[in-house]
């Protein structure tokens, strides 16, 4: 679970009639995003940011807490109550009690909380009568027993108590983001393509009706529409989304150094196929730490034990992404098989994957 810093501001939790609450939240979120760009508003009065990165930057949790408290005081004039915990549920409780839980302490903290913190009265009353007073004791019950006695909602609470879910149902205000965007004047995101002068032509409407017909026959996710996003390899750049889902704003033509340029494979697998690459002595070929192959590949073995000879290869081209996470190292290789087919392979986690076919 991610360690979160929760910022609870009592004064902002009830919306004022003059609309000043939303305006204050907007100015506050803009200021807090300078400290941590991943700051988000959970609901009125509650902000959350992952503390790991800022903590390293400010030299410890104390530094982040000071910076955030000062920022809130300067922007809004209120004094926030701050708390750190793992998962949204723990973080909020910690903030209201002004506690900073050390790494790993959230589990014990959550177990020791009284059941009332799950914010369901009938559950708390019944459990108290059964001698179950803390969240930890509630978590010790079997899920099936909880399901027998209570409804589905209680099962979600049970998952929160066990730490399988990190936030209470209803803890997050899902409509707040949209309201803030409207307050900023950004308006709802257009999820349809408009034609010249903004109208949609007859052909667009016919296509839409046809897509609906296919969806009725095969299911909602049968019809896909494609778009491009930024990335270095064809499998990263392609997005196939169920037709009708809101368009993501992206900048596909932004520069990506090291992009695998045209031509791109006409078949790009949504789920890469595992393959093995062998040299002439039938030993596995691997990418060394400096981005070179340890041997020239001479044959390609599929999981079905089918084997094809490689007549030419190019690469490997290491993808330098997230170099701070040593686990993620990728390299791409183009191979030409004996029959004339060209394939794009990728090496990740010491395995080879068939990414695309130049069909």
């Amino acid at each position: 679970m991610e360690r979160l810093l929760a910022i609870w501001i009592e004064e902002l939790s009830v919306e004022a009639s003059d609309g000043s609450t939303l305006r204050t939240i907007i100015s506050l979120i803009d200021a807090l995003q300078i400290i941590c760009p991943f700051t988000e508003v959970i609901r009125l009065g509650l902000f959350v940011l992952p503390i790991r990165g800022p903590s390293r930057f400010y030299g410890g949790d104390e530094g982040v807490l000071n910076a955030v408290a000062q920022c809130v005081r300067e922007v809004s004039g209120f004094t926030p109550s701050l708390g750190v915990g793992e998962g949204l549920f723990c973080a909020e409780v910690a903030a209201k009690q002004q506690l900073v839980l050390a790494l790993g302490a959230s589990e014990i903290f959550r177990s020791s909380l009284p059941l009332e913190y799950l914010e369901r009265k009938d559950l708390a009353t019944t459990c108290h009568r059964l001698g179950i007073h803390t969240i930890g004791a509630f978590a010790g019950l079997e899920a099936a027993r909880v399901g027998e006695r209570f409804n589905k909602h209680a099962l979600l609470l049970h998952a929160v108590a066990r730490g399988q879910l990190t936030e209470l149902p209803g803890q997050r205000d899902v409509k707040l983001g949209q309201r803030l965007r409207e307050e900023r004047g950004e308006g709802p995101a257009l999820d349809e393509q408009t034609g010249f002068f903004g109208q949609r032509g007859a052909s667009d409407q016919r296509a839409e009706a046809a897509a609906h017909r296919v969806r009725r026959r095969l299911g909602v996710d049968a019809v896909l529409s494609a778009s491009l996003q930024g990335g270095r390899s064809p499998e990263d750049r392609a997005t196939l989304m169920p037709w009708g889902s809101p368009e993501t704003r992206s900048t596909p033509d932004a520069p990506w150094p090291g992009v695998i340029g045209a031509p791109s494979p006409a078949t790009t697998f949504s789920e890469p196929v595992g393959v093995q690459l062998r040299n002439c002595d039938d030993e596995s070929v691997a990418v060394l730490s400096r981005g070179l192959l340890n041997a020239d590949p001479s044959s390609l073995v599929f999981s079905s034990a089918a084997r094809r000879q490689i007549v030419w290869f190019a690469g490997p081209w290491p993808v330098l992404e997230r170099w701070w996470q040593t686990g993620r190292k990728r390299a791409h290789l183009q191979v030409l098989l004996e029959g004339g087919e060209a394939l794009l392979l990728s090496a990740e986690k010491n395995r080879w994957w068939l990414v695309g076919i130049y069909d």
Binding site: Q193, S203, D204, R206, A207, E208, A209, A210, A211, R213, V214, R217, L218, A222, V223, L224, S225, A226, S227, L228, P234, R237, A238, T239, L240, W243, A262, P263, S264, P265, A266, T267, T268, F269, S270, W312, A314, G315, Q334, L336, L337, G339, G340, E341, A342, G356, I357, Y358, D359
Partner: protein, 219 residues
Amino acid sequence: MFAFSEKRPEIPSDVRAKLQPVTLARNKLIALSSPWSDMVPRGGLRRGTTVVVNARPGTGGLSLALSLLSGPSANGHWSGVIGVDDPGVVAAHELGLDLRRVLFIPRPRGAWVETAGDLMDGVDLLLVRPPSKASHGAARKIMDRVRERGTVLIALCDANATWPLPADVSFDITQSQWKASSKLEARHLTLRVSGRGEVQRSGEHVVLLPNSHGQAEAS
């Protein structure tokens, strides 16, 4: 009966001069982009025609079929792609397709004929890759439907499982040769174009598909 009647009223000559057929021939034509426009009459495909692309897997059949869609797609026609499991979106973009007007149905789950029928009213071009050899009945059904609706059907078939009925235009890829330097640069496709009176210059053509920009180019 009326047509042969003696009492049939004469159409005035000035009205007759203004009369036009309901659909003009040029409205019935979907223009293709270069180099395909040089291989078919009047540079395009008549609505209601069936085009078959025959190729062994991995030799460029999918690129060719997608490339046929590129010109009409850029001109604002909608197209549907049925049965292509994992379409290369980047390649389609490089070939010149306007992705906003393409509907992909990668896995029609055995109902590809019905799905094609569903889509036919909504799109102008339909690219279909049958999961196995198409049956005679299915092919007949789709081609009749296409002719009735005025859609252009592009059937992408394996060379071992060809389309069971004669098509209006057929592209057969006979040879595919990659040109490579430090990476794959371009592919020379040799293709034979044939058809029923629809083909301008039937015979062998060599095209670059894709070239180093991922597009189709006459060689």
